[in-house]
Symmetry: C2
Subunit: 131 residues, 2 copies
């Protein structure tokens, strides 16, 4: 009976994890998730610690804005020399356009803009529904 | 006994699926996968069927180049008007920089370039290790 109970618990935990996994996969596969691609070029006068402050402030956004479903970033390492000066890429995922819209006007996003602005040379944003 | 067996089977299947899920998550989380972000702006003279031909040719690459670990794409739907004219985003994932390098010189990639070139106005490429 004890083994039965343990197995039932294991099965329940696994099923819930797998269900969550499949929901996430389905969301990505049916072309409905919205990717939000943000590129930055910082001013030449921006100090490394100022750039790091902006990076950290962006990385803090998912904790403050729970409709951000995916977040990753990195700095350019392409050997192709086609980055047009952009050095940073932030890649966010939203469930849909309504959540992206809500993100754009979220107070925490606006606050991030004010942290970024003094050091920003140029920005590029492209959003797409992932096919 | 029958119930015990069914539960054991369910648990085994779930555990294997969850294990696969976690391996995939770990690959993304340890900062080792390389994202290859490609933006296109087509010439104003490019006809819709010519653009569609290029889209299809890019989408065919993962079938021809098996080191492409992830592939998705879409057209810009951002309301921010910060796309600098870029309309298409292709988002590829490689295991590491060596695979990205091999992709860049792969004959199928070179062939794609020749299909793209007549219709291309500008291109932007940023690669980053996903943090």
């Amino acid at each position: 009976m004890k083994t039965y109970f343990i197995l039932a618990c294991v099965a329940a935990v696994c099923i819930s994890l797998v269900a969550g996994y499949n929901v996430s996969l389905a969301a990505a596969e049916d072309g409905k998730v919205l990717r939000h691609v943000v590129l930055f070029k910082f001013k030449d006068t921006a100090k490394p610690e100022e750039v790091a402050k902006v990076e950290q402030a962006f990385c803090d956004l998912p904790k403050k804005i729970n409709i951000i479903q995916g977040f990753e970033w990195g700095t350019d390492v392409s050997p192709e020399k086609l980055s047009q000066g952009f050095t940073h890429c932030f890649f966010l995922t939203f469930k849909n356009a309504a959540d992206r819209d809500a993100y754009l006007i979220h107070p925490a996003h606006k606050e991030f803009g004010s942290i970024l602005h003094p050091y920003l040379d140029k920005v590029l944003v492209v959003d797409y529904f992932a096919k």
